[in-house]
């Protein structure tokens, strides 16, 4: 055997073991990676129009609080998340609304309207926002987020467009 160019029995076994092992590794490894990252590839929740209240109930220049929850199925469990905000009516025109997201832009606590201070106050780090959502005091890096897309439904409700994620 020695001296010949033919594959020795030993080398044949080595190469075969390597190839079969490699095939098993790939056949198991690739599905495993897919298995691990699968939730990251799933679509998130659905976008939706959400009614936040009757336009006629909103008083001029008085922040109108609203809240809603979105339920999403995550794996074997349903997770509900709460959202909220304030709608501020500027005139009789239902297009003339400022709809603020009550999520503080600092660290995501919920701000509350405080009539005496004429401001939105955050309970977590004393952030203070004006009725237009601008930062008056405290650590927030930017004004309150605004729900830009909204419409008046046929039955007089204001609906905001909720984007998932």
């Amino acid at each position: 055997m020695s001296g010949s160019n033919e594959l020795s029995r030993r080398d044949f076994i080595k190469v075969t073991t390597g190839i079969v092992g490699g095939l098993i590794g790939v056949a198991l490894g690739l599905p495993s990676v897919s298995y691990l990252i699968d939730p990251a590839l799933q679509e998130g929740g659905k976008d939706a129009w959400i009614s936040i209240g009757k336009f006629e109930d909103m008083q001029l220049e008085k922040p109108y609080p609203f809240s809603f929850t979105r339920v999403q199925v995550n794996g074997w469990e349903r997770t509900s998340s709460s959202f909220g905000g304030y709608a501020i009516r500027k005139s009789d025109d239902p297009k003339d609304l400022l709809i603020l997201n009550s999520r503080c832009t600092h660290l995501s606590c919920n701000v509350n309207w405080h009539e005496e201070s004429d401001a939105f106050l955050c309970p977590c780090h004393d952030a203070k926002f004006s009725r237009d959502g601008n930062v008056l005091d405290g650590p927030p890096p930017r004004p309150l987020d605004v729900y830009e897309e909204f419409r008046l439904s046929e039955d007089g409700n204001i609906e905001i467009f909720f984007k998932a994620g």
């Binding site: 198991l28 599905p31 495993s32 298995y35 699968d38 794996g75």
Partner: protein, 219 residues
């Protein structure tokens, strides 16, 4: 280039020595029955890997165990494959380990100087059965629930200390959330740790003593 890298590593890790002593060691004349130990080791590693992957989604709680298994089977990409391998691999491992044990017994390979290899092997077989017993409960379906009810009841029939054993296994008088949790802990931490340790000693002894040759007529 690769040769330089390999030589650098070899000088520091002794890769060639490892290869010669672990994989290229002398063996008696080959026989397929001698491969069952390696097959058991392969199945142990396979069960370990698929088991680790299963814990990414499995939840050992009575509220969610069944649903999380359903989710693995239907919701996750290749979840059916990972769980399928773990499920059938478990059965196969018990069979392979048992045939391995029978082979060692029939060829009298447990004699001097390999008595400890044999005893540790018995421990490995019992630990493998323990893995099967604890893993059987985890899907938390009817079969799992009643099999564990019966299994722990059998353990409870031991004279005098039976009731204590039953309570210790179940974590109380009844099959409950505590039972599921402790079976899970035993299945993924306690017994695998025992298995890994015993496998280490078992392999060391096999490499130290070499494999026994099959007995001949003169033996």
């Amino acid at each position: 280039m690769w040769k330089t890298v390999y030589e650098w590593l070899d000088e520091r890790l002794g890769l060639n020595d490892l290869y010669t002593n672990l994989l290229d060691r002398p063996e008696p004349k080959g026989n397929w029955w001698n491969t069952l130990g390696s097959a058991s080791l392969f199945l142990f590693v396979l069960q370990g890997l698929t088991g680790i992957f299963l814990t990414v989604y499995y939840t050992p709680s009575p509220d969610h165990a069944y649903d999380s298994v359903q989710y693995i089977m239907e919701g996750v990409a290749f979840g059916w494959l990972i769980r399928g391998i773990h499920h059938w691999g478990a059965t196969l491992m018990v069979i392979v380990v048992f045939i391995h044990l029978l082979r060692v017994f029939i060829t009298a390979s447990f004699k001097f100087p390999r008595e400890l290899t044999w005893l540790i092997g018995i421990g490995l077989f019992l630990a493998t059965l323990g893995m099967g017993f604890t893993g059987y409960l985890l899907p938390w379906n009817q079969k799992a629930y009643w099999a564990t009810t019966v299994g722990t009841q059998i353990a409870g029939s031991v004279p005098f200390i039976g009731e204590f054993i039953l309570k210790a296994l179940r974590g109380g008088p009844d099959l409950s959330a505590l039972t599921l949790q402790r079976f899970f802990s035993a299945h993924i931490w306690i017994i695998p740790a025992v298995l890994a340790g015993l496998i280490g000693i078992h392999l060391y002894l096999i490499i130290k003593h070499g494999e026994s040759h099959f007995p001949t007529k003169e033996d």
